[in-house]
Structures are given as C-alpha cells and as structure tokens.
C-alpha cells in the first residue's frame, strides 16, 4: 500500500484563494447592477469590457514572462470590475482599456503578480487616467437621462450649493463613478463579504468613522460626507484589499484611520473634490511600515524584539 506522508495539518479549510476572489467578483455584481440601472447599457459595456481587457492582459503578461497563467484565480476579473466601478460611466472605451492594461500589467504583474503589488491596481490605474485625461475622467452624467452635471461633492464643497437629499445619495440617484453612487448596493455586497468573513471590520470602520468624525469637527455635514463620493466603495472594497493593506487587525485599523484623515484633508483643503483614491494609494505606501509596528500581542507577554 502506498501511503502519502506530509507534515500536519492533514485537513485544510475548504476555502482557497480562488473561492475568495470569485466570491468578491460575485458580490461586485451588486454595485455593478446599480450602475447599469442608473447609467444604462453604457455602464454594462464598460464593466464587461474592462474586466475582459484585465483578464487578457494578465494572460498575455504571464505568457510573455513564461509564468503559469493564473487567470482562473479570479483576481484579474476582480481588478477589472473594480476599475470599471470607479470610472465615469461615459468614459471612452479606449481610455478604459489603457486603465485595465495599466492596472494589471504595470501595477500588478511587474511587481510580481498576485500578492506582491504595492498599490491597489484599480486605484493606481484610475489615478493615472485622471492625470492623463482629466476632462474625460471628470465628466459626470446624471442618472437615467445622461445629462452632464457635477458630482454632489463638487457642488457642495467647491460651489457651495445644496446637496441632493440623503435618500438619493443612499440609493445612488446622483452623478458619480459607475459603481460608487449606490451606497445601498455597496452595503449589500459588503454585508455578504462580512458574513462569509472575507473582509473584516477594522479598516472600513476606522475609515468611515474617521471621515464622519473629522467632517463633523470641521463643521461639515458628517452624513453627507460618508454618503457622497467614493468613500463607501473605497472603504469596503479598496481599503480591505488583502495585498495592499496591512495584515493585522491593529494595522488595518490604523490603515483605515490614515485613509480617513487623508480623505478629509484632500476633500476640504485640496484642489480635488474627492480624496478617496489618493488617500488609499498614500496609505498603500505606508503598509509595510504599519505591518512592522502593528503586531498582535505574543502569548507569554514577551515584548517583540
């Protein structure tokens, strides 16, 4: 009889990387559906197209570098979807394609692939697009009729005009990026990820909490601050990214806190109306340092050397 030997443990949890990534992709269908509902068929085309380009880019890069092709692990699909969700729904497809190629090729594969990238691929690509084509990247449309308009954050913080009602903000009936507008859809998706324990509470709680608190202290409407812009999608789907955020509970809390502070500073004192994108990229840089210092307590109480 041929017995296999290996080091313990001999049983493993049934959940692998693939299950996690595809689950996230599945959950992203909620904000995607909301985007399609509000912005029409263009939104659907953008999501499918960006995801497809992301997957193709990953396959080509891995083929060129003679590495195993891992497109079925679902991580490229997740990146493609996330990128589409943070783009204006009317963005020309060729720009979106450049974004997807940047996200996967430049930000992810060049740094070593899944697990090794420093920056959140979707957000780094979005930052590049924003710097390259600022007009197209800030051309927003109203839901349903697609008339060009400004985002609520721009209206309130830069033009000092009245904000849309909380309910409109909550369900997503406002101008903005494809998948960021519907807080409701994002919360449903996030709730599922919480229940299946794919994301945990520290980063989103610290992020949203600190934005609300700081907005309140600085004399702004805290509820408007958390319902507008890309805060919700950033807090639940970007600040919880495994690869580019810290690994410990303590570290994730600090990460969320840092994101919150940076977002508030950019929103109220910066040139841009929104700061979620840059605040998370900024904190991505600090992740290794946070990992080094925010470590769990050792059993036996000895100080870490």
């Amino acid at each position: 009889m041929n017995l296999e030997i290996s080091v313990s443990p001999h049983v493993r949890s049934p959940y692998g990387t693939k299950n996690i990534m595809w689950m996230v992709a599945l959950v992203l269908l909620f904000p995607s559906a909301a985007g399609v509902y509000f912005f029409g068929i263009k939104a659907l085309i953008l999501i499918v197209f960006t995801s497809l380009i992301a997957v193709i880019t990953e396959a080509v890069c891995q083929w060129l570098t003679k590495r195993p092709i891992t497109i079925n692990d679902g991580s490229a699909v997740v990146t493609g979807m996330l990128l589409a969700l943070v783009l204006p729904p009317t963005l020309p497809l060729w720009m979106a394609a450049i974004g997807a190629v940047t996200a996967i090729g430049l930000v992810k594969i060049l740094f070593g692939g899944l697990g090794f990238n420093i920056f959140n691929p979707a957000l780094a690509a979005r930052a590049l697009l924003l710097a390259s084509w600022p007009v197209a990247m800030t051309t927003w449309v109203r839901p349903f009729d697609a008339i060009t308009t400004a985002t609520p954050l721009f209206l309130v913080n830069k033009m000092h005009e009245a904000a849309p009602g909380y309910w409109a903000l909550f369900i997503g009936n406002r101008a903005g990026s494809l998948g960021e507008t519907s807080v409701l859809a994002i919360l449903i998706g996030a709730l599922i990820l919480f229940i299946v324990r794919i994301i945990d509470w520290p980063a989103p709680t610290a992020y949203i909490g600190s934005v609300a608190l700081l907005s309140f202290l600085l004399g702004h409407d805290p509820l408007f601050a958390i319902l507008s812009g890309g805060l919700m999608i950033g807090a639940f789907f970007m600040a919880t990214d495994y690869v580019t955020a810290p690994v410990t509970t303590k570290g994730r809390f600090i990460f969320g806190l840092g994101c919150g502070i940076m977002t508030v500073l950019i929103r109220y004192y910066g040139g841009f109306p929104e700061g979620v994108n840059y605040s998370i990229l900024f904190m991505n840089i600090l992740t290794p340092m946070i990992d080094k210092y925010a470590q769990p307590r050792l059993y036996g109480g000895r100080k870490r050397g």
């Binding site: 296999e4 030997i5 290996s6 313990s8 443990p9 049983v11 949890s13 410990t248 509970t249 059993y299």
Partner: protein, 447 residues
C-alpha cells in the same frame, strides 16, 4: 459579581479554529478490548526524553508487565512487555515518526501471564509512577514523574486536568471520562497529593456534555471524602483548546512565559487518560502496557475506540475495524488530523502517545499546490501564540534563520491553525518545523 459573569460563558483563549470535528464516528462507542496481537513491537523510545536501554535479550521469556527497558537519566520512562511470550529480537524498527527506533520484538505465547513482581503500590507514589513508565497520554508523551516533581523553588498552586480533547475525530479521552470516571478522580487525588495542591480544575469542552455531567456527579458523590477543591471548567469548543498553553490561559488567565514551562506560573497539567492510568497503577501495580486508541475515519467499515496493548501494529487495528470499505486509503495518521503524524507504513506499532489512528481517503486528505501569499491575514487571526505566520514563513523560505528567531519561531506550538485556514495552501507548519530543526542543529554546533 464579575466572577459570576465570567463563569456564565465558556472559557477560551485567543485565536483558534473550528474544523469539522467528526467525533460522532466514535464518540458513542464504548471502548472495547482489541484482539491480542500475535506479536508486539515495543520501541525503547516512546516518550519525550532519553531512550531506554534493553533489559532483556533475544530468546528470553517475558511476562505481561515485566520491565524490558529502562534508563538512569532523569527525563525518561521505562517500557514494559505488554504480553507474555518470547523476545524474538532487539533491533531498530520503523516507528510512526518515520525513524528507526531500537525496539523489543516479542512473540506472544497466547497465555497472557502476568509478571510475578506486580503488586499494588502504597508507599512512594512518585517512584511507583516512574516505575510504571507513565507518560502524558494526550500525545506529547512527556514523563509524568518529571511533571509531578517541580523544582523546589516553584510553588505549584493549581493542578489542571486536560479533558478538552480538541483534536477532530479523537474520542479516547471522552470515553475514558465516561467509562473510568472513578479512576480519573482517584488519579487526580493521587497527583494532587504528590504535588501537595488543593485546587484542581478540570477543563472539558462543551461538546462533551455527557462527560461534564458524569464527572460532575462523580465529584459530588465523593465530595465528603476529600478536602480538595475540584471544579469543572466548561470550555468553548475550539481547536486548540487542549493545547497546554491555551488550556492554562483559558482556565486560569495565566500565560506560560515564552521559553518557560507551566511550573513557572504555578501550574501542572495532566491529561485525563494519564490520571486514569496513575490510579490503575497504584491500585493494581500494573504498569502502562495498554491504552485506549480511537481508530477512525469516514472510510472505515466500523470506527472504534479500542483498548490496545502497546506494540500492536496499526495494520491489525485497522483490520479489526473492518478496513477501509468506503474509498481508497491515502493517508494514515498517528494522532489527530491537526497535529498527528502521517505514517509511511501500517507496520508501525501503537506507542504510549498514540491517541488515535486516523484513516483518510483522497477526498478527505486533499493535496494542494502551494501558491503565493495573498496577505489575507487569516493565519495571524487564528494563531493562538500571537505570531505572524505569513512573515515567518517568508523568512524560513529564504532560509533566513536569524529572521525566524526575530519572528519568534520558538513560540510556535505547531497547532496547524495557520496551515488549516491558509487560502494559498502554504505549508506553514512545515516551514516552522524546518526552521526549528535548523536552529537546533546550529545550537548543537555552537555548543
């Protein structure tokens, strides 16, 4: 008031996991004696410590309970013949660990005669426990006599009895608590007497409600005869609740200092099976020559709890459970699935520390390809030692042994929680074992 609130909840520790327990395969099955083997292989090293020297020669007649190997070193435990018969050979034989260990091979004469020198012990309890070769029956097999003789400067105030049995599949301790409750309590009393402690805390996981009930009623019925303060602590069902350090933390709130022993915080921990064996030895004088082994697995025709003579081959026991009729055997584990050792052959003997024999098919023991870490942090969340398994594994992969020391590899208890949850299927425990091995080698060279 605060104490009441704490008692309301089952106690536990930081980290840990909830694997599929599958104890129902055998938990309701009373332990039955295994068939007497035609031959036993008794390794001269079955414990943590120094190997024994053989006291018999090939061709000699031995009887059940006769001492056949001993050592004059402190951390060691003698071994005994588990049946009567002829010594066929004294030679290295394959052990469950994969090592060749010098062993005494005895061929049974079928008479099962008991050695004449065996008589109840009433005098020196500690000497009797040593002579009987008693070791921790939970799995680590540390000589019990050493555990019961703490250094003079350490004041022991609490004796903890480990009835947690947190490893999936295993039910031998559960059965002992149900079937040998009186022996367990007698053993506890003897150990408490040796240690001169008053406070005894028995930790049992809440999934063994019947055992908690049985032990509780037994304590109540014998309360008048003793002045000991014996309490049952209900523990949360969570792996590794029965790990010595985790059990101490859950029950007393104390933590064993890094690199230290339970002695250092005034605690001694004994397994329930060990206590029952102590009582048996003191009552009859019979040394440790058999134990309860859970022979289990979903593919077995009839999983069982068997009382097995030390030295019986795994093969014989799997046969007695009807063999694997529902699927092909892929792996056989000595112990439980989380910390047990996969054996390379079924021709290895049951030793004192063998709590279970687990048969796994290819559906249960899936082999995985290792992938890159995605930094999900699950290993950190479940690590009961508070380590950073992902970074520790990175250091070990690079053979940066100094870095593994910085990441406290020595504090790893090898419980396997990190490896269980890792979605990238990284062989974390394997890396940590390798690092410990390298560091041990380096220490030996420096010495």
């Amino acid at each position: 008031m605060i104490k009441c609130a704490i008692m309301f909840f089952s106690k536990t520790f930081r980290g840990g996991i909830h694997p599929a327990y599958l104890k129902e395969l055998t938990s309701g099955k009373p332990s039955s004696p295994a068939k007497d083997p035609a031959q036993v292989i008794i390794p001269l090293l079955q414990h943590t410590g120094v190997p024994c020297q053989p006291l018999v020669k090939a061709g000699e007649q031995v009887k059940a309970g006769q001492k056949i190997g001993d050592s004059d070193k402190l951390i060691s435990a003698p071994v005994h013949a588990s049946l009567s018969g002829t010594v066929k050979a004294i030679e290295p034989r394959l052990c469950f660990t994969g090592d060749m260990v010098n062993s005494v091979v005895i061929e049974s004469d079928g008479k099962n005669e008991i050695y004449e020198g065996i008589k109840p012990e009433t005098g020196n309890l500690l000497a009797a426990i040593r002579e009987a070769g008693i070791v921790g029956l939970g799995g680590a097999a540390f000589p019990t006599q050493v555990k019961l003789s703490p250094p003079k400067d350490k004041k022991i105030d609490t004796l903890i009895i480990n009835g947690a049995e947190c490893e999936p599949y295993l039910t031998c301790d559960h059965r002992i608590m149900l079937e040998e409750t009186d022996l367990v309590l007698e053993g506890i009393k003897a150990a408490a007497k040796v240690l001169n402690v008053n406070q005894i805390l028995i930790g049992i996981e809440e999934n063994k409600e019947d055992a908690i009930h049985k032990v509780k009623s037994q304590i109540t019925s014998t309360k008048s005869q003793t002045n000991l303060n014996i309490q049952i602590i209900k523990l949360k069902t969570k792996y590794p609740q029965g790990g010595e350090k985790q059990l101490i933390k859950a029950i007393t709130g104390r933590e064993v200092p890094s690199g230290g022993l339970p002695f250092d915080i005034g605690v001694v921990v004994l397994n329930v099976g060990t206590c029952a064996q102590i009582a048996k030895t003191l009552k009859t004088g019979m040394p440790l020559i058999d134990r309860v082994v859970t022979v289990t697995g979903r593919s077995l025709k009839e999983p069982k709890n068997l009382r097995v003579k030390i030295g019986t081959l795994f093969k014989d026991l799997i046969e007695q459970c009807g063999g694997a009729t529902k699927g092909e055997i892929k792996k056989v584990i000595a112990g439980g699935p989380m910390m047990g050792v996969a054996v390379s052959s079924l021709e290895v003997p049951v030793v004192k520390g063998t709590s279970g024999i687990l048969v796994l098919t290819d559906k249960e023991a899936v082999s995985y390809e290792e992938n890159d870490c995605i930094r999900c942090g699950r290993c950190i969340k479940v690590c009961p030692a508070g380590l950073l398994p992902n970074f520790l594994a990175d250091a070990a992969k690079l053979k940066d042994w100094d870095k593994t020391v910085e990441y406290h590899v020595a504090d790893c208890i090898e419980c396997g929680c990190c490896g269980y949850v890792c979605p990238s299927r990284i062989f974390l425990v394997q890396y940590f074992k390798a690092a410990k091995w390298e560091l041990k080698k380096r220490k030996a060279v420096n010495r």
